[in-house]
């Protein structure tokens, strides 16, 4: 039995695939492997969780409701990367980062430092 996180990932993968709008049953059909054995209620639970988190939008026009991804995978990735790399001012300490970007000149100086240390002893 896959974890909730894995289920959410599988569902989003399907929705991101072609940017389509699907009903829960259509989604169930398109889930890979074991996913197809899930109950429709499970899929609906996952979809409502994703909706609450803002990743999925529900179209209430027709019944059964159609679900689609709010943003593309690329948009989410860009948001992630922007948060990791893009903050110029640390207004909110969200992430503890290892990354620190340096100018090309400094990087070169550091590499030289490492190389000389390596060959030194």
């Amino acid at each position: 039995m896959p974890t909730l996180g894995e289920l959410e990932r599988s569902v989003m993968d399907v929705l991101w695939q072609d940017g389509v709008t699907l009903t829960a049953y259509e989604l169930l059909d398109r889930l890979p492997g074991e996913g197809r054995k899930l109950a429709a209620t499970t899929v609906l639970t996952v979809l409502s969780r994703l909706e609450k988190k803002g990743f999925v939008a529900r179209e209430r026009g027709s019944r059964p409701h159609g679900y689609r991804a709010q943003h593309s995978r690329e948009e989410h990735m860009a948001e992630l990367m922007h948060e990791v790399l893009g903050r110029a001012d640390d207004r909110v300490a969200v992430l503890e980062r290892f990354v620190g970007q340096v100018s090309a000149a400094e990087a070169q100086a550091l590499r030289a430092l490492l190389d000389s240390a390596q060959s030194g002893d």
Binding site: L85, F98, G100
Partner: protein, 312 residues
């Protein structure tokens, strides 16, 4: 009471400007980051206490000879609805200022905590969707981005996570990756986000005072060094140094260093400092102990001045 107010005011001034400037410029913190972190916290706390304490003592001065008696005196005057004469306007102003400053600090802290929790939750949700476990390791996840990056998310709803980009995994060898993951896990294990969040809020509150602005930058750097020290238990210094440089220089789009606002010309920027310090010896125990004592003493002074009369 006035002498006490003057003393606290002077202490507040000293801790607000010259002390943090000097401490930020000092070179010993890199040799004992944990102890230096303690000292920064003591400076910030003592500074805050002295600022508010000076205002409180000044405000209470006309009402009694020590804080306890003065507080009772003020309470009596207010409840008897005695008109606060014009000559006593300044105590009201001082007490009001103390209250405002206290509220300002507390509110900023609360808002910063709430905002960072919310962003962390959001980020966590996206990472869950976009990442896969790092192969053969259970302690990190990988996201499909080509820019080399590694970071960790402090716990939100119980679980924390270390995240690497695919670009980083491709760039580093196994030992270097181990060093990076150990570094991130050190952040989580030692709960650095608590202290960095507090100092971010502190800087937000008093952005023009060195006690807050320099402190935030210094603490951010010290916390990196502390995590580096932990990484040294799983990787040798050379591996760690390479990992630090590779991660930082992987994307040399000419973006200026963001890790630390280096005061003009003096201190090296973050990455260089983190690498060169690996070669420096640790601070001798005696010196470390002295710093710890200094930190305790620094905190004890305003505490004693403010609390002792209440306890007597």
């Amino acid at each position: 009471m006035i002498p006490a107010a003057i003393f606290l005011g002077a202490l507040a001034l000293i801790l607000a400007v010259p002390v943090p400037i000097l401490l930020a410029r000092a070179s010993w913190p890199a040799r004992a980051p944990g102890v230096a972190l303690l000292l920064w916290q003591a400076v910030a706390l003592a500074g805050g206490m002295s600022m508010i304490g000076a205002l409180v003592v000044l405000g209470l001065a006309p009402f009694g000879s020590d804080i306890g008696a003065a507080s009772t005196g003020l309470w009596r005057a207010v409840s008897a609805r005695e008109a606060i004469e014009l000559s006593r306007a300044w105590p009201v102003i001082a007490l009001g200022a103390a209250l405002l400053l206290g509220a300002h600090l507390v509110l900023n802290l609360a808002l910063t905590i709430v905002a960072s929790e919310r962003e962390r939750r959001r980020h966590r949700a996206i990472v869950t969707l976009l990442s896969a476990p790092l192969e053969q390791r259970r302690d990190a996840r990988v996201i499909e981005a080509s820019v080399p990056a590694a970071y960790c998310l402090p716990p939100v709803g119980g679980l924390s996570v270390t995240v690497l980009t695919a670009g980083l995994v491709a760039l580093l060898d196994e030992r270097e990756l181990g060093a990076v993951i150990a570094h991130e896990r050190a952040h989580l294990h030692q709960r650095h986000h608590l202290v960095t969040t507090a100092f971010t809020a502190w800087k937000l509150s008093l952005p023009w005072l060195p006690i807050a602005s320099r402190a935030q930058a210094a603490v951010a750097m010290l916390v990196e060094m502390l995590a580096d020290d932990r990484a040294r238990s799983v990787a040798d210094d050379r591996t760690l140094a390479r990992a630090i440089v590779l991660v930082a220089s992987g994307d040399t789009g000419g973006a200026p260093s963001r890790e630390i606002e280096a005061p003009s010309g003096h201190a090296p920027t973050g990455i260089t400092a983190r690498v060169t310090r690996l070669a420096d010896p640790r601070l001798p125990r005696g010196a470390s102990a002295a710093v710890i004592l200094l930190a305790i003493g620094l905190l004890a002074v305003p505490t004693a001045l403010l609390a002792a009369p209440l306890l007597a």
